[in-house]
């Protein structure tokens, strides 16, 4: 008799102490997901970048001052996912087969309730039609549709890559995908391996082990949204800010 397998719950662990703030994750994400170059009027608040890196400071004066870089994308909330609850158009869906909070731009009519609901400022509204310099559209990723103005978009853990990995596994007669077969662009491009990605439902996976490490924590844990993105740091001040005050820190950076 075939036993029912536990579906995967994909998640991420980001070692803040290894992040150098190089920006590779932001750039690789934009390339993978066909996020366009900015309109000339775009700013930090109106431009689109599914992954952003915020800088957190310890608040001390020079030269005791220290800072860390925090890559922030959709935290893929697992419980009472705020954006799913408020979308009137079913344009945000929680995929029970992967744990990924998916955004379906073609259903979105741009009410931006989800942006208001998101405590992590991880959603972006397309204020302009996408535009690439002439010829550069030939470099777009064929696995991801371009989006027009008037819709909201966000990180989906490079869902196109998951589909490719699933298709490859199916062609080989497998149902399960190894973590090495499916990695989002940000983790793939991280030169310091600060971003680890895998199946949190598998207790033996690297991300499961790291997520349970005493250095690990989640952003705004007290909200109870159970994000599937974990952060790690040995520095106590980073824990303090990330757990409680990060929303204030992100406000200047985010689009929400």
């Amino acid at each position: 008799m075939e036993t029912k397998q536990t579906p995967p719950r994909y998640g991420m662990v980001i070692d803040v102490d290894r992040c150098t703030g190089c920006g590779n994750c932001m750039i690789a994400c934009a390339v993978e997901n066909n996020v366009p170059p900015p309109n000339e009027k775009a700013t930090e608040r109106t431009g689109a970048a599914w992954m952003r890196i915020a800088r957190l400071d310890n608040g001390l004066p020079f030269p005791e001052h220290r800072s860390v870089f925090i890559p922030v994308s959709c935290q893929q909330c697992d419980h009472h996912t705020p954006c799913v609850s408020v979308c009137p158009q079913n344009a945000v869906e929680y995929d029970t087969e992967s744990g990924i909070v998916a955004q379906i731009p073609v259903r979105c009519f741009g009410c931006r309730y989800c942006m208001t609901a998101c405590p992590y400022h991880a959603r972006f509204y397309n204020w302009w039609d996408p535009e690439w310099p002439e010829g550069m559209e030939k470099t777009l990723n064929p696995d991801v549709s371009t989006r027009m103005r008037g819709v909201v978009e966000k990180c989906n853990f490079c869902h196109g890559r998951l589909q490719l990995a699933r298709a490859k596994a199916a062609a080989e007669g497998r149902r399960e995908i190894a973590d090495s077969e499916y990695q989002p662009a940000c983790g793939d491009s991280c030169p310091t391996k600060a971003i680890r990605f895998g199946n949190l439902a598998d207790p033996a996976s690297e991300v499961s082990v790291l997520a349970k490490d005493k250095r690990s924590f989640r952003m705004l844990e007290e909200l109870g949204t159970e994000p599937k993105v974990y952060f790690m740091s040995e520095q106590a001040w980073v824990h303090t800010i990330m757990k409680k005050n990060i929303s204030t820190e992100l406000k200047g950076h985010g689009n929400g």
Binding site: R18, T20, G21, C22, G23, N24, M26, I27, A28, V31, E32, N34, V35, P37, P38, E40, A42, T43, E44, G47, A48, A49, R52, I53, R55, D57, P61, F62, P63, H65, R66, S67, Q89, V106, R107, F109, D129, P130, P133, E134, G135, E137, K138, T139, L140, N141, P142, D143, S145, T146, R147, M148, G150, V151, D188, S189, P191, K193, G252, H253
Partner: protein, 708 residues
Amino acid sequence: MSITLTRREVLQFVGGAALGALFSPIPWKVLDDTAEWTQNWPWIPKAPTGNVSYMGATCTLCQSACGMRARTIGRQPISLAGITGHPFNNGALCTMGILAHHLRYHPQRLKQPVKYAPGSAHAAQLSSTNALDEISRHIASSAAAGSVAVIDSRPGRTASSLLRSICSSHEAMRYIPVSAPSLDVLHAMMPSAPLAPLGCDIDGASLILNFGAPLFDNWGTPSRAAALLDRRGAKDQTIIHVEGICSRSAERSSEWIAARPGSEALLALGIANVIIGEKLCSPAAARTITDFARFADFVAAFTPDAVSKAAGVTPETIKSTARAFASHRSAVAIIGSDASLDARSAVMALNVLTGAIGRTGGIALRSDIPGTAALSAHTAFVAAISSVPDHSLRVIILDESLSGCTLPDALLEKKLVSQDSIIVSLSPFVTPRPFCTQSVLPASVMFETLTDVPGPIDRPASSLALATAALPAPEGTMDAVQFALALGTAIGSPAAAAGTTEELIKQRIAALHASKRGSLFAPSTGAATAMKSVASADDVWSALTDGGCWIDDVPHGLDASAKFSLMPLFSGTPISLPKPREVDQLVVLPFAEMKVYDGTAISPLLSKVSQESDLRPGLHQAYVNPATAGGFAVATGDTISLTTEHGTMKVHARVDVSVMPGVIFVSTAHGSGAGGSVQQTSDIRMLCDMNGSGSFNPTPVSIQKVLA
């Protein structure tokens, strides 16, 4: 039987149908379809379709020569990733490398030769033949020896060898390689030794004394930061970072010494003073220094107490740093590329004093790469830009076909004669230089041309990789070899008949194979094979064109007859301790976080790190410490006016605790600017004092808040 409908019945039907429709999927379907229809306009770009395949490649954007795996549709790369296990980059790429396939379509791509008149931003079109004729006319009329400089932004290529040969055939021409600026002073310290490529054995070093090099931020290969972080975790490598800003590298080093910008030379001489005074230098190393006594006399004035005030570092820190540096078995001192010649010389002197030259974990004197492009083959014609007298060049020929390591425009202007001078450059992009006449020949970019790429400087051994052409180069563009051959033809040099790009590079690969030296990394196997076991030059070619690389054997130590002379570099511009009044002055300094790419065209998507986030400084951003800003009632976002003896400019203030009080850092990096362009360069460098090596000194400045 006839059916009669009353008005009431029709209204009842319509009302009922409308009410019923609300409970059906129809309105939701209409809403959904409307959302879909309104998102498929013809002007929304569509991604290409076709069979996806993969190809190996080598990045040419800087000298790291990272191995890449390109995902392609047809031959068009659509995304790039590092090759896992590659000896240089081990799967990592930098932000520019990830976007390298965009350069072919850059808005500022040059399609045909253009000419700029002095002071004009208007480009007049001309043909390649006319451009080359003009070069030959200018060279023919430049009778003075060395009045024509050929500046090679990426030495060590086949094109470099050709350019050197061409220079050797004409008295007026001199060849100037833009080499790794932190290391090249060593050549001047070893005047009797043949010119050897230099490298730095970062992996072998147990202590790195780093004067401002961005070790954790794109210095060396993109995998360098990961390797350093691993070593930090294992606690088997110490990094002491010296810089006046709490940069990414400063924060991640074992120890950060917050020294006043511009005091690097003084600080290094202070450390040398302690090493010599406490007899910490290696006796064997001291014997290799021909002018040791003179150098000891010279550094005697730079005691820790004397240097302390100017550098903003306590005497105890200077002493403990010197002791730590001298006591480690494999310590090496490195310095950032924007340091002055004095600072680079003083830092390199520390390496000589402690015997770090030629030692494991020190500065490596590499063996030349086999083949005609050997660096030592034409030593007599090689000059450094700092040795060229000001206002002595009539013609500057710039090979800017590969980005990185370019010289600042202000330095080029300083070297040119004031009238009737011309710059001829080979560049893929529009690069106006308004201070003189300029002809620009369009160059091919990455994925359009075959080129050989010498490897990174953060490894002890020489190396070589190949970048191949996946797409046809636009008509009218040329690669560096073609440019060198055309230049040779124009001036009648025998080097002009050398062969095609592919023939010449294949000759080099054949010589590499025949040498049986080193090992060959092939991405297809993910392993390195000793060159002795590689069957044919074709196998070497296949591996290299697939994104692989050749790495030489690690060179043996320093030759027993090697001698160093430290003083000549310090005798040109005597270093003196600043007066207390000068130390307390408010100064301004240009800074670029991604220095290698400063002045280079980049993909518009890089705006994600500056325009659409504040990860990297945007254009014209001035970083000011809160203590300094408070004195002028300046807050983040304010416009401030900076005035030096060279002029005034307005910048946007960013109050940031990571910078030293009393110092204003103004970004020269790529920024988005108001027009969305990523190619604008700040003018802050025009406000700062430039030193002889083309970098900038901290310059006294006054600051004023501009009221809205």
